[in-house]
Subunit: 514 residues, 2 copies
């Protein structure tokens, strides 16, 4: 058994059954081992940012790590932007990055680089294997690091000789650090704030946005008059009819400040304090109003499910929350396409169990509020701010959840960063319907120019926001990668295409002109 | 004057007149300053790897830095792979990377990351501006660092507040460290080897592959019987009729070892010692035969033009070298498309002054030998091993050299990494003819599986080399980004399309089925 085989067997034994790969020469032994070992599905991508974003989508849906397989420092570099997103989402993920054989590194061959240096900024755990005999142990440690609370990105660098030399065996899974149990004092402090009679916000993020803890939070809110709110972007929300509804903090800072202005207490559950996405001249970074008190019920690394249950018990919160009623049959939109009519169409047609991936950016923000009472579904967002995750995330979610429809809401500018994901969707016949919001601009930046005080933008500045010269044609782009697509210029056509694509299997792309 | 304006003025004063940009919120002040200052062309790309690759192409053709404009850690992450290539090519290049305002960094907003950490592995110089009053000085230092011998990647991180706060003025260009003058002893040692009567190789790279030094090297070879050879991949070669010809070291290690096996002396000019691209089990990393002597005439940071002139003078090398005669009219190829017929067609049709960008990988290696006697042209290669540079490099070269035709030889697998470059070619109406070698596989890896000893690849391993399921359609992909294209399945059709595209202005893409 060589090092690569011992590593693949160790990963499989640790529950890693999927690998998103962009291999090169240094990773050929790992690839060859996949055939000899079995138990791991290997999915080829045409760009590493697709691999890392897909592994994030897989991890968000399964709560266990997928592997990526990347080629030296530059291959890892291409994966970084979506690893940044995965890290901010606290998704368990294991990168396997090939490197030159140890004896070859000192010669500064063309692909030589500081792979650990590239890995460190976007990884929670980094190690370079030094010997084929230790690769299995390193792999088991990587899986445990990825799974340890609150979940993270583990990067294992695999020099080629540690893959091809003889190994000693397979390593058993290592203990995983579980989510911490919060102190009784934290529960009491939150209960005290909730009993104070002063306006109190329960701010929930991360794992607290799954259906069960959200239901508990909703009961606490009902018992105490507190409000619930989620961050404007979240890794995964379980929502829809029969679940507790939760609004999100508005993205524009001015609106966010206004939203929180009246609260005296902010209780954090599984999330950091709310902060501005960007800094703006003369504006605060913190969104909580001055003079308010912030109480950490559960940090992202702590068990928010247990903490909420204990808090509910301390408060004698009722056994049932106000849940979203099943959807009333709504009239389907017609006529001109607007962000509102897209929202209404999607809300009406989301199938039960669907996974909605939202990288709609400026267009996407209107879709969420329209779909509160749609059949139960998951909602995944770009939550690390690095655009270009939508289509990879949809790809990984579809691999993770066969049998569930994925609806990928994609802004055109962001979509261009990782459009290669469509090819993998075609290759793997994934049930992904992509809706491209084709506004032909970096529309979100138009407001930001003003927000940062860069007033009276000239021709050059305006050109930097305009991606409509020349126009992108997403139906052709999709067709070039084997994904069928069509353009919708009316709400009726969008509805027809959406219904048809949800009935069939395999990927489909709808370019919506907005 | 704010910090952004002082920086743009400083860059323009330092000779930086082109910026390849992917801006976001944090860079809006820099973008706005471009309108108020003037003198810098700002070229939008749809992905940061296009920006960094284009800046590399610009720098290779002008020997001065272009700027990139990138958005925080993830934006820089997307640029890394081609910055790796630029660094290995020793291209002068200045990255401007926006970051959160200094006071906002501690709040861990979604886009917060260790930007310096991301920059360091692929930069020769890194600095974060800390105050708008010092931004101009930092910019001048960055330009000087990029231009200092042997040329390098300088990364200046620009927190948003250092762009929007008041600055103190513009900084004058800083002194640039020139290429070192080699010791007399190095010239004497090389001369002694060349006079020894033993088989001697002059191995030339970097700036030594421009027409003038190559001519001198060729005279030295004529006077001494030495052989000339270049690395298998090079940043820029000036070649063609009327110039000294030079062959390249074969890429396959076995052939490279054979090529050098008889030499007793290897003289390095502007380049490191020849090393294997990858390590292979049981194979050496160094290509020079054991027992041979290596003599450094000029390192990459030293003045190889001066060193070669002094060596020629010491050896009384003749005043004229054996140059490539002008091309004899050759019959154009016909019939089935092969790598050879593509080479013959391109060799016959390269216009004088053309810039050929070669990321043909397994197909590209056959094109170079066919075109020795074509009209004078430049030949740019992927020389850092990180695939996905071809189309960005062609984009930057075309911006740098208006009026010269660019022929972009592009392997299909590599092209998919940065296909967004085509959109910028259309937007800027660049004279780039792209030829896609559509073999629908990572063909170069087929040999590498065997070379590394990963024998009898199974179904999974073979699937990782196959990008033909589904087939990519490059004509559709190009059309989706506003670039007209057509497919060639015979040599006659290729020739027709090539001739037509070279006659017109603006980009065109030819997908060649090989």
């Amino acid at each position: 058994m060589n090092g690569a085989e011992s590593l693949v067997q160790t990963l499989v034994k640790g529950g890693v059954d999927t690998c998103f790969a962009n291999p090169g020469t240094s990773e050929m032994h790992f690839v060859a081992a996949l055939d000899r070992v079995g138990g791991m599905r290997c999915v080829l991508t045409l760009f590493e940012g697709v691999a890392s974003g897909a592994a994030d989508g897989y991890g968000r849906m399964t709560d266990k790590p997928a592997a990526t397989l990347l080629h030296l420092g530059p291959g890892l570099g291409n994966a970084l932007a979506n690893l940044h997103n995965a890290r901010k989402a606290r998704t368990p993920l294991v990168n396997i990055v090939g490197d030159h054989a140890v004896h070859h590194r000192s010669y500064d061959a063309p692909l030589t680089s500081d792979v650990e240096g590239v890995a460190r900024p976007m990884s929670d755990w980094v190690r370079t294997s030094t010997d084929a005999r230790y690769v299995a142990d390193d792999g088991a440690d990587a899986v445990a690091a990825a799974l340890s609370a609150p979940g993270g990105v583990a990067t294992l660098i695999l020099p080629a000789d540690t893959a091809w030399n003889d190994a000693t065996g397979v390593a058993a899974p290592r203990p995983v650090k579980p989510a911490g149990i919060v102190d009784a004092a934290a529960v009491s402090a939150a209960a005290k704030a909730l009993r104070s009679g002063e306006p109190t916000l329960i701010f929930l993020g991360g794992r607290a946005l799954r259906a069960a803890p959200l239901d508990v939070a909703s009961r606490i809110a009902a018992a105490t008059g507190a409000k619930l709110l989620a961050p404007s972007s979240n890794p995964r929300m379980e929502r829809g009819a029969g679940r507790a509804p939760i609004r999100r903090l508005p993205y524009p800072l001015q609106l966010a400040l206004q939203e929180l202005s009246a609260f005296k207490h902010i209780i954090l559950v599984g999330v950091q304090q709310p902060v501005a996405f960007f800094a703006y001249p003369g504006m605060p970074s913190l969104i909580a109003p001055p003079g308010s008190s912030t109480h950490v019920l559960a940090s992202p690394a702590e068990d928010c499910v247990d903490a909420l249950a204990r808090l509910a018990s301390e408060l004698n919160a009722p056994g049932r929350a106000a849940l979203v009623p099943p959807q009333a049959p709504a009239a389907l939109p017609a006529g001109k396409i607007t962000v509102e009519s897209i929202g209404a169409a999607i809300a009406a047609l989301i199938p039960e169990g669907a996974i909605v991936v939202d990288e709609g950016i400026s267009c996407g923000r209107a879709i969420y509020p329209a779909s509160f009472s749609a059949p139960p579904h998951d909602w995944l967002q770009l939550n690390g701010g690095s655009i270009g995750i939508g289509m990879p995330l949809a790809t990984g979610a579809a691999i993770a959840c066969p049998g569930r429809k994925v609806i990928s809401l994609q802004a055109d500018g962001s979509g261009m960063y990782t459009l290669q994901a469509l090819w993998t969707q075609a290759r793997e016949t994934l049930d992904v319907t992509t809706i491209i919001f084709s506004n032909r601009s970096y529309a979100s930046l138009e407001g930001e120019l003003i927000n940062v005080g860069a007033l009276n933008p000239g021709k050059t500045a305006r050109a930097m926001l305009d991606i409509g010269s020349p126009d992108l044609d997403w139906v052709k782009l999709a067709g070039g990668m084997g994904v069928e697509g069509a353009r919708a210029e009316t709400a009726e056509r969008l509805i027809d295409l959406l219904q048809a694509s949800l009935r069939r299997s395999g990927p489909f792309l709808i370019e919506v002109m907005v």
